[in-house]
Subunit: 505 residues, 2 copies
Amino acid sequence: MTDLFGHAKDRIRNTALRSRLMTPEEASMYVQDGATVGCSGFTPAGYPKVIPSAMADRALNGGPKNFTLWTGASVAPELDGRLAEAGAISYRFPYQTGKAIRDAINGGEVGFQDMHLSMTPQNLRYGFYGPMDVAIIEVCAITEEGNLVPTTSVGNSPSFVESAERVIVEVNTSQPEGLEGIHDIFIPEEPPYRKPFHVLKVNDRIGTPYITCPMEKIVAIVPSNVPDHLTPMKEPDPVSRAMARNLMDLLSVEVSSGRLPPGLLPIQAGVGNVANAVIGELVDWPTDDLRIYSEVIQDSMLTLLETGKVQQMSGTAFTNSPEGAKKLLRRLEEIRKKAVLRPQEISNHPEIIRRLGLIAINTALEVDIYGHVNSTVAMGSKMINGIGGSGDFARNAFLSVFLSPSTANGGKISRIVPFCSHVDHTEHDVDVVITEYGVADLRGLVPRERSRLMIEKCAHPDYRAPLMEYLRLGEAKGGHEPHDLASALGWHLNYIEKGTMVPDQ
Amino acid sequence: MTDLFGHAKDRIRNTALRSRLMTPEEASMYVQDGATVGCSGFTPAGYPKVIPSAMADRALNGGPKNFTLWTGASVAPELDGRLAEAGAISYRFPYQTGKAIRDAINGGEVGFQDMHLSMTPQNLRYGFYGPMDVAIIEVCAITEEGNLVPTTSVGNSPSFVESAERVIVEVNTSQPEGLEGIHDIFIPEEPPYRKPFHVLKVNDRIGTPYITCPMEKIVAIVPSNVPDHLTPMKEPDPVSRAMARNLMDLLSVEVSSGRLPPGLLPIQAGVGNVANAVIGELVDWPTDDLRIYSEVIQDSMLTLLETGKVQQMSGTAFTNSPEGAKKLLRRLEEIRKKAVLRPQEISNHPEIIRRLGLIAINTALEVDIYGHVNSTVAMGSKMINGIGGSGDFARNAFLSVFLSPSTANGGKISRIVPFCSHVDHTEHDVDVVITEYGVADLRGLVPRERSRLMIEKCAHPDYRAPLMEYLRLGEAKGGHEPHDLASALGWHLNYIEKGTMVPDQ
């Protein structure tokens, strides 16, 4: 513990602030029952690790709970996992993953509103969600002036620090000091005084390398040496590889037709194994001037940087496997020159996304025959993770692509359905749908053309005839976008009741 | 006819171009069978009137048809009405109103893709929809250099002129010459070279007062003196007035709570009688510094300008009643100083909408208990008009409000439903829902809170108990956003089969 305090002290360059070093238990006393708490962290990167644990322990022993917990996006078991298990969370915003918190949300014990990630910090500052009591921010250093240097993510931290009445800092000495300089922190002026964001290239900088924080707001500083909760990436399975190859085919056609330049436009890819696999395929791309403007920077993107394929990168977090984290550390100096970590308000901002003209690659939970996409809720009601940044990117991209395996649960679920049981992205926001079977390029197509292409190119062969039969029923009834409302949700009901979507023979 | 040619000549300041004056019938020869034709016009304002009629006549006499017809948005009977009646349209983009074209779309004879209006010109330039053969543009003048001065709308005309192989011009001498100077024409650079748009105030100008057009592209110029197809505004009915008062209450609370300044933020309002009535209520707003940043500038907005309530306005079209058109003409000099007409790509651009922080006021066809909005398709399949710009504004606004009467069809349809039969705006994009019964402020609320508020504040009293019963069924099944999929679309099915949504007693 003494060592821990000593190491943390070295990271606190403002000597006056060193006196505010204390234990997690002492710091947790600053968080009252019913408090709204904003924590750093975006994916399992850069979130506070030891104070939330102390808060959970107190809650289990009759201490404060009923927290409204804000983060950048999902975090890790040490944060919302432990607090959810302790029954300490009433509301959770704006995104989540993890069994404990998800079960509590679906059970109705924890309230969750699913939000576009780019909008959360501005709506918070606009006062739409009430005041924020405490911000808990992981840093790798505190500057001479008392400003905060984030670690492996930025997320919503700048707006949490600005909005919160009190700030608690976790100085994590397991995070490399060399992260300093990689962040570009910027909080926009509020309307009607906002100015254009001068991000004209992927890695243009418009802010400061630290989060500005008035010294008097910092009530406690806690040392930590717990590393980010890294999980290994899965080896791409054959379905992911087939989807990735289909995507490469699409991009090659766009280049040969002159709609995309040879080095493409900046690429965004969702978080997870599928996106990681897809980006991995770019290692064979013929040019060496690729750019990434995404939400998270994953393993495969670092590999592209290492192999010289990518020259500029921007994101709000590094989401790495243990292997990727080592690569990050090894290459930190080079990465600092080529990559920027921004607040999620900027990494996901429509202004920049539409200006740069992104190729947005996101995953779908289910897609209907007309191209409406469900990203979040299974069988109409059960929240999986949340919409995250997919709406920010899909709506504003140059080209909006959604990927999904054609089936799930061993073929018992078709991900191409007659009618989505929940819609997160409408037909207006979906240019191309890709499964392991093919590419449905929906641009310029009208519903009667879209449905046939979706069935022919994307549906699993076992579901093509039943989908055509649904279409026949709908078209007999007529309309611009024909549906048979009586059987529209029948596939989902079949699954709920009989464990398979395969229509009755 | 000679007079018509003489008057048109006076509007063509480039003398060389005067030799290209011809009749509509002659000009229509430049439009081939199967052509993709881009016409000026946004709402019944600024669209070509005499050439489309000649095209329809030719089609009826065995001439060219199978057109793909593009406009800015809806237009008027003389354009897509006549061409649809003549069976001359194969595809229609990106928005429409009017019985003839709507019936053809719902009958499957005309293909229609429903698009965000801000995206249509860029996607066209990106080559997503193939080449454009002919642009037909109504102007009030042609400049010395051969550039085109639009009339009462800008819409997609700049991009049509840039993309089309040939340009046909209708010089409409019934349109006031004093419109010159009101337009601000700007086509963004394409990614990755696009720059920020320096619109920092509602009426900032960033372009030219005319559409740049290479002289050699202009193959025909046709004189016209047919006025815009103006229709009278309806007097606001009690339901519209009640919704308007509820909106004023909301805005007053936002001001008194400090979330909005006393003069509000720039206002956007959808097109039509309800929006017109709602904006009309602002005549009693306590301050005189209101601003309008909208898609169309309607009668009630001109009244606000006339009474000194509004100081700055921006739109892509004037959509007036005959009365409003007179007001426009009478006040043209003042309006030219305070108002700007822009391309719809700019009037509806996310970059500017989010920067200025708009209050977006749009109408809904139906809203579900969790706040998903259907704006376009009745009973799952039947296209009404299209999404228009509502998605551009709702997604990017400071505050996104949707208005809807609580019922339709004499109470037989509840517009607050368990489950939308089509989704255009997701729960992520809807802050507030207003009916004549009240205001459901959904900001920061989770699904279980949203549903109760929607039922209590917005549903018609006759439908509140059935909606609560649906909720009970759903919540018994559990999940983050509880639904009973077996009865989710039952209300729509009931209406289709029995002519009323009222659930069976």
